[in-house]
Amino acid sequence: MLETLKELCSLPGISGREKAIREYIISKIEGYAEYSVDPLGNLIVFKKGKFPAKNKVMLDAHMDEVGLIVTGITSGGFVKFAKVGGIDTKVIIGRSVRIGDGNIPGVLGIKPVHLTKKDEEADIPKDDDLYIDIGAKDRDEALLYVCPGDEIHFENDFCEFGDGFIRSKAIDDRAGCAILIDIIRSETEYDCWFSFSVQEEIGLRGAGASAFTVNPDYAVVAETTTAADLDGVKGDDRVCVAGGGATVSFMDRSTVYNRELYKFALETAKKNGIKVQTKTRVAGGNNAGSIHKSRGGVKVITVSVPCRYLHSPVSVCKYEDIVSSRDLIRALAEELASC
């Protein structure tokens, strides 16, 4: 699963440009399950188990990552852009990026600190003033390499470090994709449906359509969520903890989770000896927000990998939490299909 995650994280795939991710996933599940691509680009997968399912269960993970998109080129040859998904400006200034199909390298420049006034040394530039330098001498030269609408992703250096940690872009939600791929490639007891969804980061656009198509009784969302277990952050403010295991939410900004299902998830973890924790703050949101409102309603639960520095070019998570999350999601899929 680690090698799969590494390859997934290294591929480009901002919202609406999930093609490379989808093709990679197909290459990994070919022969293990039936699949189709829906009109929005969601990859919908059916995996036959040893037994038919009593309840239809759908597992979801989103393929897209946050990034940037080219909006124009200045007369001086600099690239202007918009953010795709929620990104704090602080984490992108001074970073390296790759643009478009040609993977053109560029950097987010900033006026040298030497030239700022003393009281402006810590001022973060306004989004409208940001630009990417690709080395072009003017607009015409730049247009030979990039054009408006090109996707921009963060230059990546996937690495394992510290005590079993991983550092990379796009762990949100390639970790979920890696988990689902792993389940599809393994032996399963019951029939199961999967949605690798598009466009989560710009407002849960894809998963609603795949839930409509699959029409499940239950859904389990495989996600990453905000771990704030940082220096000086205590107790509940940590939200969840890297190394604390699979993270189950009772409520977030997009979904009030089914109370019984929430309890059932915690019990299932306990029964199977899987490390589990509860998200201790009502924050963030994910595809559960659109899946639970599909058709006449779907009972949904989210199991997340606790992940630090979400939506930055360098998110950090612990590999053992991915394993715990996979184990819980697999156990839940089996239990819900047979209950």
Partner: protein, 347 residues
Amino acid sequence: MLRVNEMEYGAVKKLLSELCGVKGTSGLENDVAEKVTGLLSEYMPCKTDALGNVTGSKGEGHSILLDAHLDQIGLVVTGITDDGFLKIAKVGGADIRVLTAARVTIHGREKIPGVVTSVPPHLKSAKDDGKAPSFDEITIDTGMTAEQAKKIVSPGDRITFDGPFDTLIGNRIASPSIDDRAGVAAILRCLQLLEGKKTCRIDVLFSAQEETGGSGAKTGAFNSQADEAIACDVSFASAPDVSKEKYASLGEGTLIGYAPSLDYEMSRRLSRLAKEKDIPAVPEVMGGKTGTDGDDIQVAGRGIPSALLSIPIRNMHTAVEVVDLADIESTARLMAEYILERSSENA
């Protein structure tokens, strides 16, 4: 795949890429010093002095000192928190605005990766003051517990910023450490261009601790006591937020310093030579001192008349400094022409 014009700039690119690939913050320049010693010893015998300068000398008679600084900005570990995060202070003029979410290398007992911590937008309160955190608030995540971290990292260990060595469009490079490996590359390239030519004495000073105040240049120049000196550093290039009227553009050429602290005759000679030899160059005028090693060299010992050649770069003191290889080549060529002319005059 973008390619530089290998015929014209291949040599400079090779030097720059080798030099940017090693790290060395002020006061702990060991790795880059070792690399530079290897490169410089192809041209002259060289040694490392008490402060960590790498120096070399060859030839007889009239002497010209060439200087560029070895060190780069970075951070220093000041402590390890109970949760295993590193507390830091800056080494030289690190830019707080680009620290959040930066990839770093911690040079402890072994080199380990880390990342500057940040809070995701999901957990931000509605009001954002638009300010970067202060250095006191910054911590670095090593993915270790305090106990694990203490086995590898201790206060005083240095931290450098990571980033790729990227080839951009038009012979331009983006990389960490271009300040002042571009200057070091220019001097090494100059020595390459002078190979087989008869010159006066050339002293080379690859100085330590420029970013923390110029101690290396002061002592290194004292030891050299050359008759004249050319310092080679980087300067500001224009960008969308850096005035085109005030600062040179990338690719315009080497910047010939004019300042009260610099020797006027040397500056004028450089400008004349640039014109005669058709080397791209533009004047860079400063009102007092220059903020480079040139200031310290000028007043070393009984004083050394000094000139300054600068290479324009963008995003100075970030991990994405951008330079045009053509400007390094122009700097090297002009330096070489200067040495040849002075050598024949003093033969």
